[in-house]
C-alpha cells in the first residue's frame, strides 16, 4: 500500500505528505460538520486486508488523475455520524446514513481535488456512491497505489482510503 510513483512525481509530494493532507482534511470535516473529534493512527502497522465494515462511501476522480477516495465505517459509528450531522437521533440503517457518509466522502474528495488540481476544471469529481451491508471487507485496499489511513472516533475504527493514478 503505497502512493503511486507517478502521483508522487507529479505532485512533488511523498506518501506521508499526502497522508498528512488527508488527515488534516478528515479532522476538519469531522470537527466542523460532524462535531466529533477523530484521531488518526497513521501509519498502518499491518496491511488492511479484511476490514469489516457496514458502510462505504466513495467519490471518484477523473481527469488528469483518476481514482477513488473512500470512507469505510462500521454501522454504529455511521449512525452516530449521521445523528450528529442531522441533529436528530438515527438508530437504524436508512437512506440518511448513506447520504451523510456520501457527503463526507464528497467533502474529502473536494479537499483532495484542491491539492491535485491547478484550477478546478482539470479534475472531475463523481457524485458519491455508497455501499452498505451487514458485513463485508474492502478488497481494493489490498492493491497498490493506495494510501490507507485508520482513524478512531469514540472508540470505533474507520478507514479513509485514497487510490490514485496519474493519467496521460
Amino acid at each position: 500500500m503505497t502512493l503511486s510513483p507517478s502521483v508522487a512525481e507529479a505532485t512533488h509530494l511523498n506518501e506521508e505528505q499526502v497522508a498528512g493532507y488527508i488527515i488534516t482534511a478528515t479532522k476538519e470535516v469531522f470537527g466542523t460538520m460532524v462535531m466529533m473529534e477523530v484521531a488518526d493512527a497513521y501509519p498502518l502497522r499491518e496491511p488492511v486486508s479484511a476490514f469489516q465494515c457496514n458502510v462505504t462511501a466513495m467519490v471518484g476522480f477523473a481527469g488528469i488523475y483518476s481514482g477513488i477516495i473512500s470512507v469505510n465505517c462500521p454501522l454504529p459509528l455511521a449512525l452516530t455520524v449521521t445523528s450528529n450531522m442531522l441533529g436528530m437521533e438515527v438508530e437504524d440503517m436508512c437512506e440518511d446514513v448513506n447520504d451523510a457518509l456520501g457527503e463526507i466522502a464528497n467533502m474529502l474528495g473536494g479537499q483532495l481535488k484542491m491539492l491535485l488540481s491547478k484550477g478546478g476544471l482539470d479534475i472531475l469529481l463523481s457524485i458519491p456512491t455508497v455501499i452498505s451491508g451487514e458485513e463485508y471487507s474492502v478488497s481494493v485496499l489490498k492493491e497498490d497505489d493506495s494510501v490507507i489511513i485508520p482513524f478512531t472516533c469514540e472508540g470505533l475504527r474507520f478507514l479513509v482510503g485514497l487510490k490514485l493514478k496519474k493519467e496521460g
Binding site: M85, M107, G110, K113, L121, L125, I127
Partner: protein, 120 residues
C-alpha cells in the same frame, strides 16, 4: 426576513445549511430546498426567493448550469455557491454564470454569518 433557496443533492447538507442559517442568527423566514438544478429552477418559478445557496457538483443539472439558467430567467437574488469545488477556474466560471460569492465546505455557522450577513 428573507426566503432562502438551498440547492444541494445531499439532503444531509441541506439540513446542515438550514440549521446553520438559524444558528448564525441570520434573518431567515422560509427555506426552500432543491435536490439538483432542475428542482432549484422549479422552486424559483413559483416562489419568491431573496437568497440562493447552491452546490456545484450535482446530478441531472449541476450548479453552474442552474445559476446560468436562473439568471437567464431573470432571477435577481444573490447567489452564493456552497461547495467542495474550491478551484479558481471553476469559481471564476461560477461568477461568470451569475454567482455573487462562494463558501467552501466544510464551513462553520460563523463563516456563513460572515459571508451572508451582508446579503440578507
Amino acid at each position: 426576513m428573507a426566503n432562502v433557496l438551498i440547492v444541494d443533492d445531499s439532503s444531509t447538507m441541506r439540513k446542515i445549511i438550514s440549521r446553520s442559517l438559524r444558528q448564525a442568527g441570520l434573518p431567515v423566514d422560509e427555506i426552500f430546498e432543491g435536490g439538483d438544478g432542475i428542482e432549484g429552477l422549479n422552486v424559483l418559478s413559483g416562489k419568491s426567493v431573496d437568497l440562493i445557496l447552491s452546490d456545484i457538483n450535482m446530478p441531472n443539472m449541476d450548479g453552474l448550469e442552474f445559476i446560468k439558467q436562473a439568471r437567464a430567467n431573470g432571477c435577481k437574488a444573490p447567489i452564493v455557491m456552497i461547495t467542495t469545488e474550491g478551484g479558481e477556474d471553476i469559481l471564476r466560471e461560477a461568477m461568470a454564470n451569475g454567482a455573487n460569492d462562494s463558501i467552501k465546505k466544510p464551513f462553520t455557522p460563523d463563516q456563513l454569518q460572515e459571508k451572508l450577513g451582508g446579503l440578507l
